[in-house]
Assembly symmetry: C2
Homo-oligomer: 211 residues x 2
DNA sequence: GTCTATAATCGGATAGAC
DNA sequence: GTCTATCCGATTATAGAC
């Protein structure tokens, strides 16, 4: 009598993983474009190439699917946020963090857009995260920045508005990608253009706060 | 035989103006929260305090109402954009423009959110504006900034990424207002807090680009 | 596990009485 | 001009055959 399931028949088959992943990715793209309310399960199923009823087998409701998508986004955000920790030199810490946020916007624009759309509708699903985890993250980083200000390492400023500028600037490249595209002759930023934008974001922000 | 309608019976009565305005404002709030597709005419009519069918009397379709809302937003954007014209001193021009954009975000957060939501869904309605009017505005301001760079008045940079930073930072205070609220103990920024944020945005951006 | 068929509800728009 | 009643397509979710 063993508590572990027989290995020849895993609880979650490879096929199930695959279908879930397909629905998950399709859901990300539809939620990013249309928001939670505007997204339809029919469109998600269509993009995933499965019948509509199949979706409800893997995810009981549209909201359950949305919550699954959301949780991954918050997790990715925290991973990028941790880059503000690794050292105590402001120039290094800020450069690394802005770079990480730019890279995340480039690597996962859909995640950034779903976040934006969730905030626009009043953040019903992630409000708790904002008020607890994010607020704590911000408070601790504000403390670090206040020490830098006291030590004369950076200009005197209100740390939270500084972080808002970083979030806004970096996420803009994901959230407003279609606008940027329209202003770039219809083409998305090339890798070269993006690297230039990233370097300039780091430079301008650093120059903005270094004494 | 006159071509002008009799003045005692204006083509658009005061009552009509009033109802249209109510529906228009209600539509702004619903479109800002839910996006075009997520918004429902029933909810718009409910907030305006009129029966649903009444909405269709004043605006033939949901899309017509959305387009009316959108046009006003583009017009307001252009008004704020004109503040980059009034002089040739970079410090003054940039300060004035950032201040104007911050004030617009504070005065009309719904407009900013509707714009953001429109971009998120691929900008079907304002794409033409982005590719023509906005692209021309950007090109002409890039030319001004390149002259400043050549004259050594500001640091060397790619002007368009600089404007993206300004747009992102200022619009963030409207588009992410609910996130900012969650990080501010649940309360929106007070006027004092907002003035501080505005001053800091101007300072950091100026320091970021002045040589 | 999968899919067709369908229930139940919602949403945009209209008809037509007032 | 205004509003009740309603049409009809779309949408979420489920039932039940396979």
């Amino acid at each position: 009598m063993t508590l572990t399931p027989p290995p020849q028949r895993p609880a979650r088959s490879a096929g199930r993983e695959l279908k879930e992943k397909g629905l998950f990715e399709a859901a990300r793209s539809v939620f990013a474009e249309e928001g939670f309310k505007g997204a339809t399960t029919a469109e998600i199923a269509r993009r995933a190439g499965v019948p509509k009823a199949n979706l409800h087998y893997y995810f009981p409701t549209k909201e359950a699917l949305y919550r699954a998508v959301t949780e991954e986004i918050l997790s990715d955000w925290l991973a990028a946020a941790s880059s503000f920790d690794e050292n105590d030199d402001p120039k290094q810490a800020i450069s690394t963090y802005v770079a990480a946020k730019m890279d995340l916007a480039r690597a996962d624009p859909l995640g950034s857009r779903i976040w934006a759309s969730e905030i626009l509708r009043g953040a019903p699903v992630i409000k708790d995260f904002l008020e607890t985890t994010l607020a704590e993250w911000l408070a601790s980083r504000e403390a670090i920045m206040r020490r830098w200000i006291a030590a004369g390492k950076i200009r005197s400023l209100e740390p939270r508005y500084f972080f808002y500028m970083i979030w806004a600037t970096t996420q803009h490249y994901a959230d407003f990608e279609d606008q940027i595209k329209a202003l770039n002759g219809g083409a998305p930023l090339s890798d070269e253009q993006f690297q230039k934008a990233k370097a300039q974001a780091i430079d301008t922000i650093l120059n903005g706060v270094m004494p």
